[in-house]
Symmetry: C2
Subunit: 149 residues, 2 copies
């Protein structure tokens, strides 16, 4: 599988959205994400459903933040994306009569669970606000790719 970059992608976009006053179109945000508008909308759908952003149609439409970045954690966004699979490794089968396989699977699952718990705990402690560039001015465009043409 390809590396899943959705989380990295939407975080980038959300931070930029914070720095703009008016709604920004999928077309422009997709460029800042390095992809196309349809992929962008598909990826952002979960965040809209979860109430972190809103989108409007027609003239003057586009995407805007609903809640302040200080109230959103990385865990919130990861959850809004549907908690994509974290690990690339897994077990072949899971319901087997083989005692050896059961022990192996249990050890792997336990380790993965502990590692994932730490992961999510850390995510829950990081607000999007803390990822803004040091000394960033609200509504200043930082990334050239989201600036108007």
């Amino acid at each position: 599988m390809n590396r899943d970059t959705r989380l990295s992608d939407v975080l980038h976009v959300l931070l930029h959205l914070n720095q703009v006053d008016e709604p920004v179109t999928s077309d422009r945000l997709a460029k800042s994400m390095g992809t196309n508008p349809a992929v962008f909308r598909r990826t952002m759908a979960g965040l809209r459903n979860a109430g972190y952003v809103q989108s409007g149609r027609g003239h003057g439409g586009g995407w805007s933040l609903v809640r302040p970045l200080s109230e959103i954690t990385l865990l919130d966004i990861y959850t809004a994306l549907g908690q994509p699979a974290l690990f690339a490794i897994g077990m072949r089968s899971n319901n087997t009569d083989c005692l050896v396989e059961r022990n192996v699977n249990a050890a792997l699952k336990d380790t993965m669970a502990q590692s994932e718990a730490l992961f999510l705990e850390r995510f829950g402690a990081i607000t999007l606000e803390s990822l803004l560039p040091a000394g960033s001015v609200p509504r200043a465009v930082v990334c050239p790719k989201v600036a108007p043409d």
Copy 2:
């Protein structure tokens, strides 16, 4: 991508190898792994190079353990496999001028690094011996799939 099951697979095989006296062929072990001999050999190559198992050709050939399970940890095996990618998530780009993206990537990388460190630490603390079925008798065949036909 498919879930990477190589670690789970080889652990299963190693534990069974411990319970058999003579070398076991790729053909039989592949069946116990639920795959074919070529896949099995490809997967086990790293363990042979790392010196945990040996393989012999011709009549009476096959695979056997070189070191006792008490001296092998999950981390050893994971390393012998070439430390396959642990996480399914990643970042789209990595060298960018965008300050926002740099901060996002740094936060994700840091979290992944901590989570992976815990993962490897746990792996280093689990010996293959500890995964043997409770009360298992050395060289007793436990899994029907590796028993002679």
